[in-house]
């Protein structure tokens, strides 16, 4: 009975997910196909002052019409770009895209020397058919492919109509020009939100900071509220009827909690296992909840645990917990490994010190890479349909590819379910392992032996 229900829901889940991916990729594809003529003629930002504007037959609300007027897209089919499609779907956005709808989210933006701007991203006038471009600029901010960008340089406050947004992700050329926006016939360069990678991954500090409750932040909040509700009500039923047989949510979560307790906390943390149970359970359920939430169809497929910011925070928290709980023996082992010759210590100490930082780094990267890779793989399998179908030009090949990549996607998603659980478990397990290494005290005898 139970197995049948699980099978049913799994089936439903797969069908839904596939449908969702299909519908959203399709809408993306239509937009991509409609754009090239606009993009083609777009001059690089900054050059526009002295270059003659190419004639545009769109009206004032160019962005809005670019998506709808079929005049451009009828002529030729732009090659489908799986890379930008996949990147867009795993990115954090200032809208919550469900299918082809973009639900507005709160924007909290700060530009140094300019101040805070707080408003709903719905004020951008999101064009649902245009994959998250807004046709209004607010306080110098525009919505570019679902993400808030800021017009470089000085721009007056207030709401201004945007004629067109030219995004590098819409272009097929490998060269990356800065995204730009045309307002009242003038081209302005666009800045992406500041990122903390110091330019390492193509980001860096720009003219503004985005503290918005983005799609990922909202997903996180939803999952946390759901988990909090589940666990608080569960704790209440334990309090109300102590010592009775588990019921309802207890039946679902109790084995998992006991599994973490008996397979993770007790073996690695020894006598102090109970102290770290809240952290381990919070980590496990937070990661698992978000991993699974990202796989639910019709809910935007948020790639939260596949975002380096989130895994970085988790890893930093693990790092802090490990090192603030480290005892004398732990630091002794890091800086002055007992029981090895002095010359070996000169090699060991740097390695151990590096290890202190590499451990959380691997935690961060492992989770990020696994979840992002899973999302990417599914998106690319779906993209195969459009590649084979040549964006609708070859229906037969498209249908064939649908079948093939449908099966591949089902296979991939089954693996993703597994990965969701495994990665949550691995993160928790390794955190427990690192904490255990920092707090264990059974080196006593060995140390005395070494003298």
């Amino acid at each position: 009975m139970k197995r049948t229900i699980i099978l049913f829901f799994t089936g439903l889940f797969f069908c839904g997910k596939i449908f969702c991916q299909f519908s959203s990729v399709e809408s993306n594809n239509i937009l991509l196909a409609s754009e090239p003529t606009v993009t083609h003629s777009a001059p690089v930002a900054g050059e526009h002052e002295h270059s003659e504007e190419p004639p545009q037959n769109h009206g004032a609300s160019g962005v809005g019409e670019a998506g709808h007027t079929g005049t451009d897209s009828h002529g030729e089919h732009a090659p489908f770009d799986p890379k930008s499609t996949a990147f867009h779907h795993i990115s954090d956005l200032n809208v919550f895209s469900i299918g082809s709808w973009n639900l507005p989210l709160p924007c909290i933006l700060y530009a140094p020397g300019y101040g805070w701007s707080v408003f709903s991203s719905g004020k951008f006038g999101i064009d649902n058919a245009h994959h998250g471009n807004g046709h209004l600029a607010i306080d110098g901010y525009v919505l570019n492919h679902g993400r808030v960008n800021r017009i470089s340089g000085e721009f007056p406050r207030g709401t201004v109509e945007v004629e067109a947004i030219f995004s590098s992700s819409d272009k097929q050329s490998g060269a990356h020009e800065k995204d730009s926006v045309r307002i009242a016939g003038i081209h302005y360069g666009l800045d992406k939100p500041s990122t903390a990678d110091a330019g390492l991954f193509g980001g860096g500090i720009t003219s503004f900071y985005d503290f918005s409750l983005t799609k990922n932040a909202v997903s996180m909040l939803l999952v946390i509220l759901l988990l909090s509700w589940a666990f608080l009500s569960m704790a209440r039923s334990y309090r109300k009827a102590p010592g009775t047989a588990p019921r309802g949510a207890q039946l679902l979560f109790e084995p998992i909690i006991l599994f973490i307790q008996d397979e993770v906390a007790k073996p690695f943390l020894g006598r102090q296992w109970e102290r770290f149970m809240p952290l381990l359970l919070a980590l496990f359920f937070f990661i698992l909840g978000l991993n699974l939430f990202g796989q639910i169809p019709f809910l935007g497929g948020s790639n939260v645990t596949g975002n380096l910011s989130v895994t970085m925070v988790l890893a930093v928290i693990a790092f802090i917990v490990v090192n603030t709980n480290g005892n004398r023996h732990y630091w002794e082992h890091v800086f002055w490994m007992p029981g090895v010759p002095a010359w070996v210590k000169t090699i060991l100490t740097p390695v151990e010190v590096l290890g202190v930082f590499i451990k959380p780094l691997t935690l961060m990267l492992r989770l990020f890479a696994n979840i992002t890779a899973g999302h990417m793989a599914i998106l690319i399998f779906i993209s195969l349909i459009f590649i084979f179908g040549q964006s609708g030009a070859n229906t037969g090949a498209g249908l064939g590819a649908s079948l093939g990549s449908g099966l591949l996607t089902i296979f991939m998603m089954s693996i993703e379910l597994l990965v969701a659980v495994i990665q949550a478990f691995v993160f928790t397990l390794l955190t427990a392992c690192y904490i255990g290494a920092a707090i264990e005290d059974h080196h006593h005898a060995a140390e005395e032996h070494h003298g």
């Binding site: 990147f87 809240p278 910011s309």
Partner: protein, 181 residues
């Protein structure tokens, strides 16, 4: 090169907003739910485990007590059975003894009765013998008397003598009662 390739790959770029919200949300989840839910749940599970362990121990103890009780019962039962057998045996023995005694008594009684009977018979026989002797004596006497009478009647002297004798006998016969008196 990497930067150019990854310019669109935004999940890899640590976003300040997401860093901030992740920290806030996860810390809240960890601290609040950890304190209000995970800690009590873990404690409840631990308590229940303890309860179950105690219950199992109690059950085990009860079982061993039960088995002790059972062996005790069996022992008592066996003892009772043994006792019963002993009692029955004893009863049988005493019954046998009683029967034997009774038989002996009866035998003795019979012997005694037989003896008595014999004695009685002897006595009766003696009495009968005496009677017979007396009878025979009387008869002999009568015969003798008759014979003698006949002889005597033949001779008057004899009659006289007899008369004399009879007188003597009478005297003797009278003498006895008189003597008694």
């Amino acid at each position: 090169m990497i930067a150019t390739l990854l310019v669109d790959f935004s999940p890899l770029k640590p976003d300040f907003g997401l860093l901030f919200w992740s920290t806030v949300f996860f810390s809240l989840f960890w601290l609040l739910v950890g304190k209000m839910a995970f800690k009590p749940i873990v404690k409840a599970l631990k308590d229940r485990q303890e309860d179950i362990r105690n219950a199992l121990d109690a059950a085990r103890q009860a079982r061993s007590e039960m088995s002790d009780l059972k062996t005790e019962n069996e022992r008592v039962l066996a003892e009772a059975r043994e006792e019963k057998m002993a009692i029955i045996k004893e009863a049988k023995e005493s019954a046998n003894l009683l029967v034997a005694e009774a038989r002996d008594n009866a035998k003795a009684e019979a012997q005694r009765i037989l003896q008595q009977a014999k004695l009685d018979i002897e006595t009766a026989k003696m009495a009968a013998m005496v009677d017979v002797k007396n009878e025979i004596g009387a008869m002999a006497l009568q015969i003798a008397e008759k014979v003698i009478r006949k002889q005597l009647s033949d001779q008057p002297s004899n009659v006289a003598y007899i008369q004399q004798l009879m007188d003597e006998m009478d005297r003797g016969g009278n003498r006895a009662p008189s003597q008694k008196a």
